[in-house]
């Protein structure tokens, strides 16, 4: 898995380095900066809702400490977003609207971690922890259900910084 990802990342970096990300047409909700090669706004990769919806996604039906009962989260896979941005590095710093941030090792992107943009089918507003929330696959790997991953589960995400 890791190798595939690295290979993908490497491919994104070298072979497809000329590939330029299309410019966002709607409101930018996510900015990926730092070690990224596919840029569209300055030296960052900016994504609007439509761009994110086009990426490989997954639906996760999970319980979280911040929601009541089982909740369906849906959104692009973290690794798909990183690949789209041509990101390569070791850690990600995920920042929220309120400037809360968490450092995430890049291996967390190898599993089915998603950047949820829909909750129970609805777009997430800022009042409902939107516009974007990092959701770990607690449904696939129950071992992740602990404080370590809770603190990494950033909501109201606005940007991701990739560090080498």
């Amino acid at each position: 898995m890791k190798r595939i990802l690295i290979a993908l990342l490497a491919a994104a970096m070298s072979g497809v380095s000329a590939f330029a990300l299309e410019a966002p047409t709607g409101l930018v909700i996510l900015t990926v900066k730092g070690a990224v090669t596919n840029t569209n706004v300055g030296d960052t990769a900016a994504f609007d809702f439509a761009m994110l919806e086009k990426l490989e996604s997954r639906q996760a039906v999970v319980e979280t400490p911040w929601t009541t009962g089982k909740t369906t989260f849906e959104g692009p896979l973290l690794r798909a977003v990183l690949q789209e941005a041509g990101a390569s590095g070791k850690t990600l710093t995920v920042r929220a609207l309120n400037d809360y941030s968490a450092e995430i090792p890049i291996v967390d992107a190898e599993i089915a971690t998603i950047l949820a943009i829909r909750q129970d089918g609805q777009r997430m507003s800022v009042r409902e922890k939107g516009p974007m929330m990092l959701v770990y696959p607690f449904d696939l790997e129950p071992g992740l259900y602990n404080e370590k991953y809770f603190s990494r589960s950033v909501w109201q995400i606005k940007e991701i910084e990739v560090a080498k």
Binding site: L97, N98, R127
Partner: protein, 753 residues
């Protein structure tokens, strides 16, 4: 003492086992408790997988402050659109924060605390009250100054509530942390106690195991000691047993030596002219001596069998001949009890030569027959032989049937047990060692056969045994006959007799003189060596036990000195006829071995063998029959007791075996004289008988008939003896007496040419 210790130890082991069991149960219990405890701790940890309440409340408080700051910025620059947007975003974030605190999963202490719930509800109400303002802004209408003032006031109260919530949450959390620490401490304490228990159990277990091990070592040491004591005891017992065997052998020898002298002398006495009553006494002496010898031999035989030292030989012989001669030996005894002895031989067995141990076979037959004769009065004793094939092997079945007292079932059980007789009164009435049947059974089994019996009280018994035999080919039979012929004429030898016992010297000398031999006497081994150095002898008869120098040593010297008699065959004579002795004799260089008492027949054969060596394994069968069995010298009862005969057994009314024996012992001339004198006597006796019949005088009739019978048997005229005997018991008619007289006359013409 040892036993008590063992009992104590056993009790100790029982309690130790109980303690161990309890310990194991306790250990198990402790382990279960520990597991439950660990499970509980784990559950507590599971419960702990919760969002951090304090952090959330702090975030909420912070968002309130941020919103306040943002509002303050806007009031400074009311026209800034960016600041308006910022304010709206901050409100949204606060809104989500309130949501989180309201809905999120926190510890129960947080969710269940009424005060906390109240504070949160207050805050949520205040925040939600501002929602229309921001919704309107989102729709495009800017908030008025008054509205902002109102928001400012609301936020001021919200900040206070939020602070309260933060402080209260912190206090509650500290309280909770202390509680949880207490719980963990408690758990730790319990774990510690259980661990202590566990360790104590393990220590106890180790100690107990150690003790067990020590006791096992102790026990094994005790066992070793016991084993060595046992083996010592066994050795002592074995030594005792060996001493007993040695004693038996020595006693056997010591008793047999003088007995040999007694028997030999009485045998000689019988041959001399004696008044009838003296002759009778002498015969009684001899028969008693022979009976005694039989008992001794039985005991020695039994001890030999008991020690597994019974050795068998394989010789060819005539089964019928053996049966006949055995029956003839027993006839006398049977006669004493007024029994008829019947020998039932099938034609097919006539002149059948087989190879097995004739000596032992005859021993068994004699024993069974003499038992039958002993326990039967006025009846019949039958020896029946039948041949048959089993699994392709030739088998002979020997049956001894009597019409005697019989044996009941209780008696049958005791029958084959050593030293037991059917009941105590039997041994008083009939005598005997009670070993006979045991020996018979052992011998038959050793010969590869089977011995059994059936009996009915008051009707009689049948003792039988079946033996696999090897038939001998015609060639071998011819060879035997040839050997026998060569024995007929005995050479005159110069014989050195080495014998310390004066009586034995006389016996042997007389026998040898009768056999026409020249005899030189040496009184001990030393004399023998000296004589052998001076002269050349043809044969040396060497006694084994002698003062000064024994037979073995003398033999060695004679051979070692290489004198004129160094090559002379030396034959050992001893009453101590063990296999070991036999080996020692042969080792010393002796060429033969004879057990005492030595009879004329044996001496004769020895002399014959000395000049004309015969293959030891194929000895003449018929000669064997007239011989006494080595190791079990059978009393030659035919001399003393009358014989009976069945039709077809005697040839021309003369018992061939007896004839040969007499001729062998006395020579043909003497035998002829004997026969002639018998007929002379018979003539006068017949006169007496006729007178007695006419009177009639039953007592005299019987006496005369008895005399005729005895005299007839003496010379082997068995047919006359049978007929004379048949007339006894009831007064015979004159016609019968006449018939007997004619019979005698007829034989006289046949024999006395």
């Amino acid at each position: 003492m040892n036993q008590r210790a063992t009992v104590k130890q056993a009790a100790g082991e029982g309690s130790v086992a109980l303690i161990l069991q309890i310990l194991c149960a306790v250990l198990l219990f402790v382990l279960i408790l520990l597991f439950v405890d660990i499970a509980r701790q784990y559950r507590i940890m599971e419960d702990g997988v919760r969002e951090n309440a304090l952090w959330s409340v702090y975030q909420l408080d912070r968002e309130v402050s941020t919103l306040e700051d943002s509002l303050a910025d806007l009031r400074v620059q009311p026209a800034s659109a960016k600041l308006h947007d910022e304010l709206a975003l901050r409100y949204d974030i606060l809104y989500s924060r309130v949501d989180i605190v309201e809905q999120g999963k926190f510890g129960s202490y947080f969710a269940d605390d009424q005060q906390i719930r109240g504070l949160i509800a207050d805050m949520a109400a205040v925040v939600r009250a501002q929602q229309p303002l921001f919704d309107r802004y989102a729709a495009g209408r800017l908030p008025t100054a008054a509205e902002l003032d109102e928001l400012d006031t609301a936020l001021a109260s919200l900040a206070l509530t939020s602070q309260d919530l933060l402080i209260h949450t912190n206090a509650r959390l500290s309280h909770e942390r202390a509680d949880s620490r207490d719980l963990i401490l408690g758990l730790e304490r319990t774990s510690f106690v259980m661990l202590g228990l566990l360790m104590a159990s393990v220590v106890f277990l180790v100690v107990t195991l150690n003790r067990q091990l020590r006791s096992v070592r102790e026990t094994s040491r005790e066992l070793e000691v016991m084993a060595s004591q046992l083996s010592e005891a066994y050795e002592a017992a074995d030594a005792g047993n060996r001493a007993k065997s040695q004693f038996m052998a020595t006693m056997g020898h010591e008793i047999r030596t003088p007995l040999n002298a007694i028997l030999g002398m009485s045998e000689l006495l019988e041959l001399s002219e004696l008044p009838e009553d003296t002759l009778y006494s002498v015969k009684t002496i001899r028969s008693s001596g022979e009976a005694l010898l039989e008992v001794i031999n039985e005991i020695l035989d039994f001890s030999k069998i008991e020690h597994g030292k019974l050795e068998l030989e394989q010789r060819a012989f005539d089964v019928c001949g053996l049966a006949e001669s055995t029956v003839s030996i027993i006839r006398g005894r049977a006669e004493d009890h007024k029994n008829t002895v019947i020998l039932d031989l099938p034609e097919s067995l006539n002149t059948l030569f087989v190879r097995t141990d004739p000596t032992r076979l005859r021993q068994v037959l004699l024993n069974l027959l003499s038992n039958a004769a002993k326990f039967t009065h006025d009846g019949t004793v039958t020896l029946r032989l039948r041949e048959f094939y089993r699994e392709g092997k030739l088998m002979i079945r020997f049956e001894v049937e009597d019409t005697g007292i019989g044996i009941d079932e209780a008696g049958l059980d005791k029958l084959f047990k050593p030293f037991s007789q059917v009941d105590a009164s039997i041994s008083r009435r009939y005598g005997g060692t009670g070993l006979g049947l045991t020996i018979c059974k052992q011998i038959v089994e050793k010969l590869g056969g089977e011995l059994g019996m059936s009996s009915t009280v008051g009707v009689g018994s049948i003792f039988w045994f079946e033996l696999a035999v090897v038939p001998v080919s015609r060639e071998d039979i011819k060879k035997l006959t040839a050997t026998r012929d060569s024995e007929e004429d005995l050479p005159r030898l110069k014989i050195l007799l080495v014998e310390d016992n004066r009586v034995n010297q006389i016996v042997a000398t007389r026998f040898l003189a009768r056999l026409g031999q020249d005899v030189e006497i040496a009184n001990d081994g030393t004399e023998a060596v000296v004589l052998a150095r001076q002269q050349k002898f043809d044969l040396v008869l060497m006694d084994m036990q002698m003062p000064v120098m024994d037979g073995i040593e003398a033999t060695r010297r004679i051979i070692a000195e290489r004198g004129p008699s160094a090559e002379t065959p030396i034959i050992a004579m001893t009453a101590n006829a063990s296999d070991d002795d036999r080996r020692r004799c042969l080792d010393a260089g002796m060429s033969g071995f004879e057990s005492k008492p030595v009879t004329l027949e044996r001496l004769r054969k020895m002399i014959a063998d000395a000049t004309n060596p015969v293959d030891e394994t194929v000895l003449p069968a018929t000669a064997d029959i007239s011989e006494e069995a080595p190791g079990l010298p059978q009393p030659d009862l035919s001399d003393v007791m009358p014989l009976q005969v069945l039709p077809g057994l005697g040839i021309e009314g003369l018992d061939e075996a007896r004839h040969a024996e007499l001729v062998d012992a006395l020579g043909e001339e003497v035998f002829q004289e004997l026969v002639e004198s018998f007929f002379d006597d018979a003539t006068s006796l017949m006169v007496d008988l006729n007178q007695a019949v006419q009177k009639p005088d039953p007592e005299k009739i019987d006496r005369v008939l008895h005399t005729i019978k005895g005299a007839a048997v003496n010379v082997g005229l068995n047919e006359i003896a049978v007929k004379a005997n048949a007339l006894r018991g009831h007064p015979p008619s004159p016609a019968q007496v006449e018939l007997l007289g004619e019979e005698i006359l007829a034989l006289k013409f046949k024999l006395v040419a």
